[in-house]
């Protein structure tokens, strides 16, 4: 399975920077399509891989034989053992890594530099050896889709607000939607890695896997249809909300019904993703980088004391400001004081309600993203989904 250098018989590794297979011994470079793969039947539906199993989370990590696995790319646990040689289905296409390991690491580091709330000790974890390139299986689908939504919103009528309802139904023809084909990677995580641009895709050649890990699709057609429906629903729901008149507030989809039909011949692809795994305070974290575009996604741990300090300081400052303004206004004529206080209190109450709603929902989302980055939670989620 290994491709060897025609000059010195050294192992060839794919270099994303040059888009060539490079020999670690003599430095010679070859285009993957020019390398003759001895003993490989390119017309075969299968290709050979080595499978490692993580004793901690049960994940299976697949490598080419030029890469030996030392720790689990998903949960960061070193309890990983060689399991077997496996014949896997040959994907239809692949988007080769464009971003090198160091470039990916630099992109993560740039988010860390001058970051006042992230603990400094995690900087030590941003090392190339903690970084793994993995080809994640995706299904690229075309789908006919139909959805009906019952939506509510509030409209101001003088001093009062009234709830109104909106009915929407429509169809969409989706084209080239990527659906994460692995149960092990949470759909919410893979969604954040998008977009992947299919213009860069190549016909699958296992030479592109040299130096990287890969995973194979473990879903069946029902899983794919379910994931596709959820993905299309999210795209549809985000758009349908925009069709509600601008003067309507608190727009919420109350009820939905949706159906997706995947067109025949979905394309089985491998997309490139860099995984950085590290531990902080005993909890594992995973930061992902799109291996094609360089988009970084993940939630970094933060200094709890600092965040609590900021929250408490804001709380005290806001209260001090309101009390101070009370004493300042108190000196005026009584009718002016009453007017200013009534208007001020009403405006402040409205602003506070909006701040509360935005802040609460935002924090809930960030905590959810944090749980996704703490990959043990991903695995609990995956196990629940599998069961």
């Amino acid at each position: 399975m290994a491709v060897l250098c025609s000059n010195c018989a050294g192992k060839l590794i794919f270099n994303p920077a040059s888009q060539k297979l490079e020999c670690a011994n003599c430095g010679a470079g070859f285009r993957p399509e020019d390398v003759r793969d001895n003993g490989i039947d390119v017309s075969s539906k299968y290709y050979d891989t080595r499978v490692y199993t993580c004793g901690h989370c049960g994940a299976e990590i697949i490598t080419s034989d030029t890469e030996s696995s030392t720790f689990c790319v998903y949960c960061g646990n070193p309890a990983i053992v060689f399991s077997r040689v496996s014949r896997e289905y040959r994907p239809d296409g692949i988007i080769p890594f464009k971003i090198t390991k160091l470039q990916a690491l630099d992109k993560i580091r740039s988010r860390f530099e001058n970051n006042p709330i992230v603990p400094k000790e995690i900087a030590g974890s941003f090392k190339p050896e903690n970084m793994r390139g993995i080809y994640v299986p995706y299904w690229v689908i075309n789908a006919d889709y139909q959805e009906a939504d019952w939506i509510s919103g509030t409209v101001k009528r003088g001093k009062h607000s009234e709830t109104r309802y909106y009915s929407r139904a429509g169809e969409v023809k989706f084209k080239n939607v990527p659906i994460d084909g692995s149960r092990i990677l949470n759909d919410d995580v893979s969604l954040r890695l998008e977009p992947f641009y299919l213009e860069d895709s190549k016909e699958f050649d296992e030479d592109y896997l040299n130096g990287f890990y890969s995973n194979t699709s473990d879903m069946d057609f029902m899983d794919l249809r379910e994931s596709a429906s959820e993905r299309c629903h999210k795209l549809f729901a985000d758009e349908v909300v925009k069709s509600i008149p601008k003067n309507v507030n608190s727009v919420k989809i109350r009820d939905s019904i949706y159906w997706a039909d995947i067109q025949d011949d979905p394309i089985y692809m491998m997309f490139p993703v860099w995984f950085l795994t590290f531990k902080y305070n005993g909890k594992p974290y995973t930061i992902l980088v799109n291996g094609q575009t360089g988009k970084v996604t993940g939630t970094l741990p933060w200094l709890q004391k600092k965040i609590w300090g900021i929250a408490i300081a804001t709380f005290i400052l806001v209260i001090a400001f309101i009390i101070a303004s009370f004493f300042i206004i108190r000196g005026g004529a009584p009718e002016i004081i009453t007017f200013v206080w009534t208007c001020g209190a009403a405006a402040l109450l409205c602003t506070s309600t909006i701040c509360f709603s935005v802040g609460f929902r935002g924090l809930r989302r960030i905590l959810k993203n944090l749980r996704l980055s703490q990959s043990e939670a991903i695995f609990n989620f995956v196990k629940r989904r599998q069961s």
Partner: protein, 113 residues
């Protein structure tokens, strides 16, 4: 009279304190969220419908200020899978995965016996 007045003052004070606390918490929540969003939560964005559909949504129904009954008509009209009868050519990988799952399920069942 004085007792009633005192009760009113007490109630007003309580309301003022509750208002102060609510305002303080609201602003603290917003500021904390904004800071975490900026510095901790990286790349929380995803694509919109235009990325995957040139024509976007073709609306069949678009009713504003709908009456409650409309909900039942809406779901009655769209509640059946329009693609249910369609046959598919399912890729071999997906068929094999389904078989693998079936075997695992059967083995688990036998183990538990």
């Amino acid at each position: 009279m004085i007792e009633r007045l005192n009760a009113n003052v007490f109630a007003m004070s309580l309301m003022a304190i509750a208002f102060l606390i609510f305002t303080g918490i609201s602003f603290a929540l917003l500021i904390t969220y904004k800071i975490l969003k900026k510095y901790s939560d990286i790349g929380d964005s995803s694509c919109d419908i235009k990325e995957y559909s040139g024509r976007g949504i073709q609306y069949n129904r678009m009713i504003d200020d709908a009456i409650t009954n409309e909900k039942y008509f809406l779901f009655a009209d769209y509640g059946v899978d329009p693609y249910a009868e369609k046959k598919h050519n399912i890729p071999e990988v997906l068929l094999k995965n389904a078989e693998k799952d079936k075997h695992q399920f059967e083995n688990r069942g036998q183990d538990s016996l």
